[in-house]
C-alpha cells in the first residue's frame, strides 16, 4: 500500500463546508461557520457546498423553497466576504457523481450501523420521523461521505453534534480503501470551531429560522432594531438599580460575539452586574454594534442581488470546477470496483 501523503502544506489541504439551502443565513451561521470560512479560504483549498439535493430529504413537500434559497444563500456567502475566485462554491445536485458515490457507499455500511449513528438518531427524534423515516434520511451519512470524499477533503468543520457523521465517513473510507487495496479515498478530520452556537434572540439555545428567533444577515436596519428590542436579557433585572445577571443574557452573549471594543464591554458588564445599568443602554450598544456589523454585509448583498444572473454564472463556474474534481474521484472509485469497461 502506498503511503498517504500527509506532508502537504495547509494551502494544499482541502476543506469542505456547506449549507442546506432552506432559508436565508443568519447571525448564528455567521458566528458558527461563515466568519471562519472567510479565513479558511486563505489557508486551505476551500469547497463550499450548497446541499440542495440533501435539503430535499425532508423538504419534498416544499421543493420550491430549496430552489429559491440556493441563490439566496449564495448571496449571503458573497455578502460576508467569501471570494468565489479563491473558494469553490458548488451546487450539490448539479454534480451527479455525488449520487453515484452515495450509491456505492450504501454497500459499505449496514442498516444497523446507520441506525446507531447518534447524529441520525437525534435528528430522527428532532424531526419527528419515528418509524416513517424517509430512506434518504437514514442513508444520509453515505451521502455525506460522498460529498466529503468526492473532493478528498481532509478537514471538515462541524458542530460537535456532527462528529459521528465524520466518523462514519471515515469508516466508509477505510472499508473502501481496503476493498480497493490502495489509498484512494482520504480520511477527513472533523474540526469543531471554537465559537459554538449562538442562542436565538428569545434566549433559546439555538438560533434557527424554524424557531423564528433569528437575525438574518440581510436584515434591514429596521428589522435589526426590532429584533434587538426583543432580545432576551435578565428577567430578574426589573429596575435599573437591580443587579443584573450575565448568564443566559442574550444581549451580552451577542456583545461578546460581536462588540469589537472588549474593554468598554467589560466595563458595561461590571456595571450591569452591580446594578445601575438599564437594559435599554445595553440594547442601544448592541443595536449599534449589529448595525455596524450588518450594514456593509447588507449593502454587498443588495449589490450582488441586483445581478442574479452573475451570481448564477459564478455558481455555474464553481460547480463545473468542483465537478471535475468529483469526476476524477468517481473514476478512481469506479475503476477500483471493476466498473470500467470502455
Amino acid at each position: 500500500m502506498s503511503q498517504p501523503t500527509n506532508e502537504t502544506t495547509p494551502q494544499n489541504q482541502i476543506i469542505l463546508t456547506g449549507d442546506r439551502p432552506t432559508g436565508p443565513l443568519h447571525l448564528g451561521h455567521f458566528v458558527g461557520s461563515l466568519r471562519n470560512r472567510v479565513a479558511y479560504q486563505h489557508e486551505y483549498k476551500q469547497f463550499i457546498m450548497l446541499a440542495d439535493a440533501q435539503a430535499l430529504t425532508d423538504n419534498m413537500d416544499d421543493i420550491t423553497k430549496v430552489h429559491r434559497n440556493v441563490v439566496e444563500v449564495a448571496l449571503d456567502y458573497l455578502a460576508v466576504g467569501i471570494d468565489p475566485t479563491i473558494s469553490t462554491i458548488l451546487i450539490q445536485s448539479q454534480i451527479p457523481e455525488l449520487a453515484e458515490l452515495t450509491f456505492y457507499y450504501l454497500n459499505l455500511v449496514t442498516v444497523a450501523r446507520l441506525e446507531r449513528n447518534p447524529t441520525v438518531k437525534a435528528e430522527i427524534v428532532q424531526r419527528g420521523f419515528e418509524r416513517d423515516i424517509p430512506a434518504g434520511f437514514l442513508t444520509y451519512p453515505a451521502s455525506q461521505a460522498a460529498d466529503i470524499t468526492a473532493f478528498k477533503a481532509a478537514i471538515v468543520p462541524v458542530g460537535d453534534d456532527q462528529i459521528p457523521m465524520i466518523e462514519q465517513t471515515n469508516e466508509i473510507v477505510r472499508k473502501f480503501n481496503r476493498i480497493a487495496n490502495r489509498e484512494i479515498l482520504v480520511e477527513a478530520k472533523a474540526v469543531v470551531p471554537e465559537v459554538g452556537r449562538l442562542p436565538g434572540i428569545d434566549g433559546r439555545a439555538k438560533m434557527s429560522k424554524s424557531l423564528g428567533n433569528t437575525i438574518n444577515l440581510g436584515a434591514s436596519a429596521d428589522e435589526i432594531r426590532a429584533a434587538v428590542k426583543m432580545v432576551y436579557t435578565d428577567p430578574l433585572h426589573l429596575r435599573v438599580d437591580d443587579p443584573g445577571h450575565l448568564e443566559g443574557n442574550v444581549a451580552f452573549i451577542y456583545l461578546d460575539a460581536f462588540d469589537p471594543d472588549k474593554e468598554k464591554l467589560a466595563e458595561m458588564k461590571a456595571h450591569y452586574v452591580r446594578g445601575g445599568l438599564g437594559d435599554s443602554v445595553v440594547k442601544k450598544r448592541l443595536e449599534a454594534v449589529l448595525q455596524e456589523l450588518l450594514a456593509p454585509i447588507r449593502a454587498r448583498r443588495e449589490e450582488y442581488a441586483q445581478d442574479k444572473g452573475q451570481v448564477l454564472q459564478m455558481l455555474k463556474e464553481g460547480t463545473a470546477k468542483a465537478r471535475e474534481v468529483a469526476a476524477r474521484t468517481t473514476d478512481e472509485v469506479r475503476a477500483a470496483l471493476g466498473l470500467t469497461y470502455f
Copy 2:
C-alpha cells in the same frame, strides 16, 4: 393533470429486462427469460440491463467476478439470438443517471416500507444478512425503481417473487408524479412469464449456479453429457420394469421444456409410467434434445467470444443509446424537483 397516453401501440411500449452479471447464464435463464426476450424484441422496444452496480450490493468481496461476467452474460445474450440492433443492451454502472434517480427516490420511500417489502425480506433471509444488511440491499427497490422509470418501461417481466418490487416502483412513481403535479414517470406492469422456474439437475426447485446444479448455455458437449447423467429422475424407478413417476422427475421436466417432438414425448411418458422404459433411454433422448438445442448457441457464443472487442463496442453503443433516454428522464425529474439552475 395530463392524461397518460395509453393508446401506444405495443411496438412503442418499452420493456425492461436484465440480469445481475454474477455468472454465466444457464438453461434456467433460457426458459425463464432469455427465450422470451428473443420474442419481445420484435414486439416491444426492449432494454436489457447488465446490472453490474446492483450485483456489487452483495459481491463487494469479489468485485472482479462482476466485471468479468458482464462480457460473459453479453455473450450469452448474443448466443441465444438477442439482436443488439433491435434490443438495447446496456451496462448499468455506466449510466450514472440511474444512481441519481435512486438518490431522489430514496426520499420517496420510508425505511419501514422497505423493511416490509416481501421480496427484500425473503432475500435478506436467503442471503443470511440478518441485522447486518448492507444499506444498499435494503434500498435496492429504490434502485430498481430508478432502472425501470429511467427508461419509462411499461412492462417488466419478472418472477412471481418479484411482483412486490414492481408494486414498490409504482408507489414511487405515483408519489413522484403527485409531487411533480404531472405524469412524468410511467407505472410499470409486472408480467410473469408462463413458463416458470426450471429445477436444477439435482431436482432442487431452482437451477442456480450457487447450488452447482446448472447446465450453462455455453456448456460443451461433454459437459452436457455429464450433466444429463446426473439428472434427477424417479428414485423409486429402480428396475426398468418398475412403473415410473413423472412428478419431480427432472428428465421429463426438461423434456417438457425443450423437446420439440411433443407426440413422441407423450408416448415416452406413458411408457415410463406403466413401466418398461429405462432412465437410460429417457436420458439419451434428453441428451439429444439438449445437444441439439445448445450446439448452435455454443457455436454462436464461441464465434462472438473470438472478438470481445466487438462485444464491448456493442455494449458501448447500447449503453450510450440507453443513457440518452435515462438522461432525458433524469432532466425531467430534476426539473420537477426544482433542481435546474443554469
